[in-house]
């Protein structure tokens, strides 16, 4: 009851006009940032920081937070429409969102992703409202050894999201890990595989890889079709929104995604991205028709898009109650707080309750605003698909390249985007899926860091590391899942699979 009162107080703070206005501006900018590939939350907030000095601190923070969670709404748009992930957290949405668009269900995919984002974002917020301090403490139990086991199990279970061949997927994941080792390594202080080339020191940016493999790859595929591609079926207004069946299939994944995202969001690392992959893998395993995944299964959009939004809410927990930013976006939010003389941490809730609860209340309101903004936009976005391919694709190419350049202001990155674009195009033609590569790139560094740090913490004993209670639990869950996979593989599909598994 107490919390409800505080929240009501917060709502009264967040609905004064100036705060409501900043919230609206924030989520609008966020949506734009999400839609544009390459432009990320961090740079958008950094750009606005100097202008926020004159603003009231609560209003400024409400706006920054709005940009942050708003961007995850828009991220799916370009994934679904043109196969270019607008945000790293929407990479996995390409897998099923884009095929849905090709079948004329882009509207449904966009609507489901918006509604899923809303539902899961709200789930995350409820968690944030009720449990912030205890959850933040609980998450601290996870140390490097636990991250190591999570990354290991994640790599094994998630490397095979789509596609037919486990072998090829595993190879792609390992290549992703190999790519992740390139660059200056913070663990050892040396550069690896850089051959004295400055620009390689930075390592491979996830967005660069995703924009190349998916975005440019798709542009090449679409533009080089020898026969004219069948037109995307034109969409009647009635068909713009999900059918009853699509609804029924999406609702459970939304809630599941919301919970998964929330839990992942409490831990360090690119939580929104990782949670979307986990949710995808989970949905595929839970689904009654896993064979549809990769060909436009609505669950593959609903789950991940929900997960990344509730992960966003969850990343606010360590930030607000411990003052710890676990990813780039919350780090810049922290700077936003500090510029206004507020240091988030254990005492924020007691010292500045009006700010804390006002911010949280504004996130509820922002979520509703985002839904209101996004649903009508779907119609507009779907119209975009009516643009003939020969006009649309060159424009997409330019947007993708410009976005890629803006990440590090680097021409070198553009060369990589194009390189990975060609690779993505060729891989797709020969039945290699690029998504495990992304997983390897994300989880590889987590694996290496967790192992190295964990072993120092456990005095160099691998046995001590893997028998820590949580580590052991996670690893055994992984082992059981692998065993289960093997059993089904041997019994059910023995003969049919062999032929497919080239």
């Amino acid at each position: 009851m107490d919390i409800l009162n505080l929240l009501l107080q917060g709502i009264s703070v967040s609905i004064i006009p100036v705060n409501l206005l900043s919230c609206t501006i924030g989520v609008l900018i966020g949506t734009l940032v999400g839609v544009l590939p390459g432009i990320d939350t961090v740079s958008a907030i950094a750009l606005l920081l100097p202008f926020s000095y004159g603003m009231d601190s609560t209003a400024a923070l409400i706006m920054f937070a709005g940009i942050y969670y708003g961007s995850k709404y828009g991220g799916s748009t370009t994934s679904i429409l043109i196969n270019v992930p607008g945000e790293a957290a929407s990479v996995v949405t390409c897998l099923d969102g884009y095929p849905m668009g090709q079948k004329g269900r882009a509207g449904a995919a966009l609507a489901i992703s918006a509604i899923g984002s809303f539902i899961a974002g709200t789930i995350g917020l409820i968690g944030l409202t009720l449990l912030a301090p205890p959850l933040a403490q609980a998450a601290l139990v996870f140390g490097p050894p636990e991250y190591f086991s999570l990354a290991l199990v994640g790599l094994i279970l998630l490397s095979r999201l789509t596609g037919t061949s486990a072998l090829k997927s595993a190879l792609m994941a390992v290549i992703g890990i190999m790519l992740s080792t390139i660059g200056l390594d913070s663990l050892s202080g040396i550069s690896r595989f850089t051959f004295g080339i400055d620009e390689l020191d930075r390592g491979f940016d996830l967005s660069i890889l995703a924009m190349g493999l998916f975005g440019i790859g798709e542009i090449l595929t679409a533009m080089t079709h020898a026969e004219a591609k069948p037109d995307i079926p034109s969409v009647k207004f009635r068909d713009l929104y999900p059918t009853k069946k699509e609804w029924q299939r999406s609702i459970t994944p939304m809630f599941r995604g919301g919970i998964v995202g929330f839990l992942v969001g409490l831990l360090p690392g690119p939580a929104a991205t990782i949670s979307s992959f986990i949710s995808y893998g989970l949905e595929k395993r839970c689904s009654k028709h896993p064979e549809e995944f990769g060909h436009g299964a609505i669950e593959g959009v609903a789950g991940p898009e929900s997960a990344n939004n509730s992960a966003i809410s969850a990343t606010m927990i360590p930030l607000l109650s411990l003052g710890l930013p676990f990813c780039g976006a919350t780090a810049i939010l922290l700077s936003g707080f500090m510029i206004h003389g507020i240091t988030p941490g254990p005492s924020l809730i007691t010292e500045r309750p009006e700010l804390f609860w006002g911010l949280i209340a504004s996130m509820y309101i922002g979520n509703v605003l985002l839904l209101i903004i996004n649903l009508p936009l779907i119609g507009v976005f779907v119209q975009l698909l009516k643009t003939p391919l020969n006009i649309l694709m060159p424009l997409v190419a330019v947007v993708t390249l410009t976005g890629a350049y803006s990440i590090n202001n680097s021409m070198f990155d553009l060369i990589w985007v194009i390189f990975f674009g060609i690779l993505g195009f060729l891989l797709q033609r020969v039945g290699f899926e690029p998504s495990p590569l992304i997983i390897g790139l994300v989880l590889g560094p987590e694996l290496e860091r967790g192992l190295t740090q964990g072993l120092i913490i456990c005095n160099g004993s691998i046995w001590a590391l893997i028998t820590r209670p949580i580590t052991a639990t996670i690893l055994s869950i992984g082992a059981v899942a692998i065993l289960y996979n093997f059993v089904t593989w041997f019994t059910k599909y023995d003969n049919t699979r062999k032929e497919l598994d080239i």
């Binding site: 663990l187 411990l322 254990p346």
Partner: protein, 313 residues
């Protein structure tokens, strides 16, 4: 940027000046640069254009600054301009290839433990570590960073064995401390300030010459006061490529001096958790030279250099 002609000094600056931030958008250095950008037009006569060139612990951006000579490309600096050339081959030797314009703020390092740990002060911790060599593990924000250097300096100065755990950034390291996975943390004051205030984290020592001004840390003694020679800090500053015409350099130095000493700017720097500390070109240059001598000795004596070298065959 390839323009090698020397600018007409009397008219300088007659176009926007590029300020290269060799770290990511939103990091500490970037925020300081953006604070500078806000007032640049008033004091420099031209706007600053901030370009982030992250990667390679700053080296990518500094290479670009060092390679330019038109006076319209400046860069933000930190202690890495001295440390990176010590650790391995860099394209330029930055302390000599760059010319400091100003120092803006200082970033100290503090040593903290969780409040549930038994050690009330540095002395007790060192005594424990002497009896149990290698049992105490200290975290820091990355191999070869100031936190790491400070930790190894303590280990050497107290002649104890402390195991180092490298993390990626101070947030992850702080989380590991709060979760009890590591016992000691060397980090910047801002990232643990709230926890010190709240009593969840105890501060044992400060790795700077003087005590910190911030009231939360004012009671914490320095390492020197407790008999250990551990002084290690970074800074935020601005540098230009070597060999700019004197008039250009003077104009830049004057302009930035005015921006930095603006009370509003100073207030904002402190709000971000940095110790405001302005140094002019001359003092900065002297600092670079002494720091370079000191640190090159330190990284050798503490074995940091060997540790990094051991990663490679």
């Amino acid at each position: 940027m390839e323009n090698k002609t020397v600018p007409a000094t009397s008219k300088y600056p007659d176009k926007p000046i590029t300020l290269i931030v060799p770290f990511s958008v939103g990091g500490g250095t970037d925020l300081v640069a953006r604070l500078l950008e806000k007032r640049a037009l008033d004091y420099l006569g031209q706007p600053l254009v901030i370009v982030n060139k992250p990667g390679g612990a700053g080296t990518i951006g500094w290479n670009e600054v060092a390679g330019s000579s038109d006076g319209y490309t400046l860069g933000m600096t930190g202690v890495e301009i001295i440390l990176q050339p010590l650790y391995g081959q860099t394209k330029y030797h930055y302390p000599t290839a760059l010319d400091p314009i100003a120092q803006i703020a200082e970033l100290s390092i503090v040593m903290v433990v969780q409040d549930t740990q038994p050690w009330k002060d540095l002395d007790e911790l060192i005594r424990y570590a002497t009896k149990h060599p290698g049992e105490i593990k200290f975290g820091h924000g990355g191999m070869g960073t100031t936190g790491h250097v400070a930790g190894e300096m303590l280990a050497k100065s107290a002649d104890v064995r402390l195991e180092q755990v490298p993390f990626q950034g101070s947030a992850e390291a702080t989380a590991s401390l709060l979760g009890g996975h590591i016992q000691v943390l060397f980090t910047n004051p801002a990232s643990v300030k709230e926890h010190v205030k709240n009593g969840t984290v105890r501060i044992l020592a400060v790795a700077s010459e003087h005590r910190l001004k911030d009231p939360v840390f004012a009671n914490a003694p320095t390492f020197r006061e407790q008999g250990f020679d551990v002084v290690c800090s970074s800074w935020h500053g601005i540098a230009a490529p070597k060999d700019l015409p004197v008039e250009v350099k003077d104009k830049l130095a004057k302009g930035f001096e005015a921006i930095i000493n603006d009370p509003e700017f100073q207030k904002n720097i402190e709000a971000l958790g940095f110790e405001f500390s302005y140094l002019g070109p001359k003092e900065s240059q002297e600092k670079w030279i002494t720091e370079n001598q000191k640190l090159s000795k330190t990284v050798q004596e503490t074995g940091i250099l060997d540790k990094i070298k051991a990663q490679k065959k």
